[in-house]
Amino acid sequence: MEEKIKHLENRAKEIRIDILKMLTKAGSGHTGGSLSAVEILTALYFSKMRHDPKNPKWEDRDRFILSKGHSAPVLYAILGKCGYFNTKEFLNLRKLGCILQGHPECARTPGVEVNSGSLGQGLSQGNGIALALRLDNKKARVYVLLGCGEVQEGQIWEAAMTSAHYNIDNLCAIMDYNALQIDGYVKDIMAIEPIKDKWKAFGWYVIEIDGHNFKEILTALDQAEKIKGKPTIIIAKTIKGKGVSFMEDKVGYHGVAPTEAELEKALKELE
């Protein structure tokens, strides 16, 4: 376990560097929410999920949906590192003719399962995939990453009811709880607490973890797989902009890319 975690921590560092480099090159994009989800996606793609980058449409693959689609850079960094496409594509992020669109599009990027970016729609899509997998007697699981501002969308709660009503236990939602949204702290813009109670009341099994601690993430993902008859959500407490001191918990880095000077400073901290 220790060795595995060490390996994942190294991976996470590389992913952070890729995110910052591609965002700086693009000149726009969402930095803070990409950095807060690095450990979650690293744990999923480099440890938990059964998937095959050489066969992105493998029928038995586990599926990941980035419902908080604006954090596309973290997903692209991961998919590129996994080998879904050449990592040279990172430099074309958001550029005309690129495969890496500003927000994820499944028809353009190998490894992306559905379109996201308009918030609140990924859990419904995940439910649909999970129901289809169940109809086909597949063992594959579905993971949906939600933002904490995103759960202000009404459709999330429509979908939350659906997951519970249909006893969708082959789906695990994860909430990247970095507590910030574009306009400020979630608690000031539109409070979501008591969020654990809300999910419980909607019929979900809830696990709370530190979203930057690999041991806690991996344990929670294993635990979620064992919960039968109801959906599970992992509420992962995270820090927006995690890993770069001057970006951490700063609302200003929600939808802003680093400058060249900021990149240099950030890389010094990470390397």
Binding site: E105, Q125, L135, Q155, E158, H165
Partner: protein, 328 residues
């Protein structure tokens, strides 16, 4: 006169399609008895998902099912399918051409007594504007059956508008249906009526009356509004130089707009757009509403005469100009 509901045939056609293809799944939003998807649920309960009163979840869940290889038919009333869940249809279904069939009942004002909140007078426009979407409005029950079969075979998103009211039967069972191909009932010499849905049978009746008055109108059933059969429209415009469009939908955004766009670019001729004239519906019996909103056989006759009068006045104007230039 034999009548058959386009929504009534939907339930039985779903069962047939579902028996042929196990990947067909059906979703509804608490209106399964009205949309007739309940028939599918009785036969294939495991492949039916009632999503409750949650249309946005309905559409995005359908997208998820399609992402995993299913062929979802998602149904509710037309106004909720296309209005409430428009963005879900755009983002999760059409953007990547997912294989979802949105089959909505209660299109138009023939919904009747429920009133403006339940009348769907913008759905064709709302669906037509989204890239990758196919839009179909069958003219009778038998065309609806064939159109549903064609939609199931076609890969990609489809919006099909069905109705609460039973429509007079025009076709026979097994009528050929090709997506994007208009049905040309007759080629007139004086004007052409291009209609969809309930307006097709009214147009055919209007044509008979006009014939007795010596006016020869062509009738085209434009049951696929997107992709539009522009060749048929262009031919009709070249032949008759006068077009009437007739639809149970706003004159903005629907069939009338689509035909006007085509004519403007390809073959500019006079056009009269019959439909809901930028208004909301009101409560009433469906036949009362069709009168209230000027969507009767008599209104079609009037529109045909109007457009012919415009055309002739234009020709006279041109001729006068020619005489004037000559004499000058």
């Amino acid at each position: 006169m034999e009548k058959l509901g386009t929504r009534d045939v939907y339930g039985q056609t779903l069962i047939k399609l579902g028996a042929e293809n196990k990947d067909i799944v059906v979703l509804d939003a608490d209106l399964s008895s009205s949309t007739r998807t309940a028939k599918f649920r009785e036969k294939f309960p495991d492949r039916f998902f009632n999503m409750g009163v949650a249309e946005q979840d309905l559409m995005a869940t359908a997208a998820g099912l399609a992402a995993a290889g299913k062929i979802p038919f998602a149904s509710t009333f037309a106004i909720f399918a296309t209005g409430r869940a428009w963005e879900q249809i755009r983002q999760t279904i059409c953007l990547s051409s997912f294989n979802v069939k949105i089959v909505a009942s209660h299109g138009g004002i023939t919904v009747g007594e429920d009133g403006a909140t339940h009348h769907s007078t913008e759905d064709i426009g709302l669906m037509r504007i989204i890239p990758n979407m196919t839009v179909i409005v069958p003219a009778d029950g038998y065309e609806a059956i064939s159109a549903l079969e064609a939609a199931a075979k076609y890969y990609g998103p489809v919006y099909m508008r069905l109705s609460r009211e039973k429509f007079p039967v025009i076709y026979k069972e097994g009528i050929d249906f090709q997506i994007g191909k208009a049905k040309i009932h007759s080629q007139g010499t004086d004007a052409t009526i291009i209609a969809c849905g309930i307006m097709v049978s009214l147009a055919l009746n209007a044509q008979k009356s006009l014939k007795q008055e010596g006016i020869h109108a062509g009738v085209i059933n434009m049951s696929t509004i997107k992709p539009l059969d522009t060749k048929s429209i262009k031919n009709a415009a070249e032949t008759t130089k006068a077009i009437v469009t007739a639809e149970e939908h706003s004159i903005i955004g629907g069939l009338g707009s689509a035909v006007a766009e085509c004519l403007g670019e390809e073959e500019p001729v006079y056009i009269e757009r019959m439909g809901i004239k930028d208004k909301f519906g009101v409560s009433g019996k469906s036949d009362e509403l069709m009168k209230e909103y000027n969507l009767t056989q008599e209104d079609i006759i009037r529109a045909v005469k109007n457009v012919i009068a415009k055309k002739e006045s234009h020709i006279n104007h041109i001729n006068r100009k020619k005489v004037f230039i000559k004499s000058y």
